[in-house]
Amino acid sequence: MSKKSLLARNNDLANTERQLEILSNGQFANGELPTFAKKIAITNQFPLRPKKLEILQINLGYMCNQVCAHCHVDAGPDRKEIMTKETMQECLDVIKKTGAHTLDLTGGAPEMNPNFRWFVEEASTAGINDFIVRSNLTIIRANKKYHDLPTFFKKHKVHVVSSMPHWTRGKTDKQRGNGVFDKSIKALQELNAVGYGMPYSPLKLDLVYNPSGAFLPGDQLALENDFKKALKNEFNINFHHLFAITNLPISRFLDYLIASENYEDYMISLVEAYNSEAVKNVMCTNTLSVSWDGWLYDCDFNQMLNLKVASKVQHISEYNEELLQNRNIIINQHCYGCTAGSGSSCQGVVA
């Protein structure tokens, strides 16, 4: 497993245009598979349009202490792009007036942004219903300065959402790096110790499951039950819900699919599992994604493909919710990842 991002390795796929080219060529160019636009047009869902804005997702930077094999952000210690305090202030101004009920902070490891705590303190008083921080867990154990994160999260009533690809060490470390499983278990126990994830606790702790390979996630509830049983029995860990998320064929996961000669079959699996019901609630219809440098996107994946919103308003500094809602959502073949089976979003299944 590489310890560097695609960008640091000068990999061809660090270029988003190259990724989009791959997604438009091959099976989709020769007609073997329908493009996403054609597929959603069959059920009159083209162009895809936003519904009411519910979630504002802010990416605080691509820097991360981990280099996960499947990462769609291409995050890692070598990524230096992080949100400045000025952009954070612009985000806060928006958070105060948005109609969205959920604020979702992500990265990279958002905690590595030097202004992370200031931002959380400010945002937690802005009257948001559900304040999510996506924590990779190991950051809590990575350095002494992060050890108190569980109590910090608790103080600001943050809803913690953490990645956990499997309840076994082997599968987890293969996807996320050696030692990640043990550190994640320790971090989960520490979160439990301050009340996170305990039955009936208002301190919400949810886990995110991504398949560790070229296959789709199984039934979310069945996986949640298996995770709960295994983590409780072996490590006395409690958590609330499991979000099963499909890996989208972009960035490092796309690199893996191509290198392992799984790309064509994976795209066929996604297209075969297409579910028009999932299209109705796909997350780009209720989410806006903000990048570390303040640009606006339909979703985190479009952000990583550098596909900015198709609107006059494209930057947080000129944010206008009404104008933004009146746009067509940018789609491409990667979108099949969110419409397979029961669908997939940062909040898990959608259908």
Binding site: H166, W167, K171, P211, G213, F215, G218, D226, F227, E272
Partner: protein, 111 residues
């Protein structure tokens, strides 16, 4: 026409068997779907049984299908290999138990 007997891409065409006999094909797929629903056995347990039988039947399509199905359900490779051993044990047991027939025959024929 393919030069080999098995082509992995043929698995995706399985549904086409209804083209030449819709009624029986549909009955089969309805039955198949029903069998794998959650019942007295969990869908997870059924997936492992299917994987074991796929091996004893030596069906490459079924092995591909139920290996992938198992991964999707979070079934570990240790569990999958144990299931294959269950199939192998029954298969070899079925061979060896016929040894009793051989022994019976020898005992009958020999003075």
């Amino acid at each position: 026409m393919s030069k080999t007997y098995y082509d992995p891409a043929d698995l995706r065409k399985f549904g086409n068997i209804t083209d030449w006999n819709e009624e029986l094909g549909n009955k089969f797929f309805d039955y198949y779907g029903k069998v794998f629903e959650e019942g007295a056995l969990t869908a997870r347990e059924k997936s492992l049984i299917a994987l074991a039988v796929a091996h004893t039947e030596q069906c490459p399509y079924c092995i591909d299908a139920y290996t992938k199905d198992g991964l999707q359900r979070g079934i570990t490779k240790e569990e999958m290999m144990e299931a294959v051993h269950v199939g192998a044990a029954i298969k070899s047991g079925a061979t060896l138990v016929h040894g009793v027939q051989m022994m019976n025959k020898v005992n009958k024929l020999e003075m």
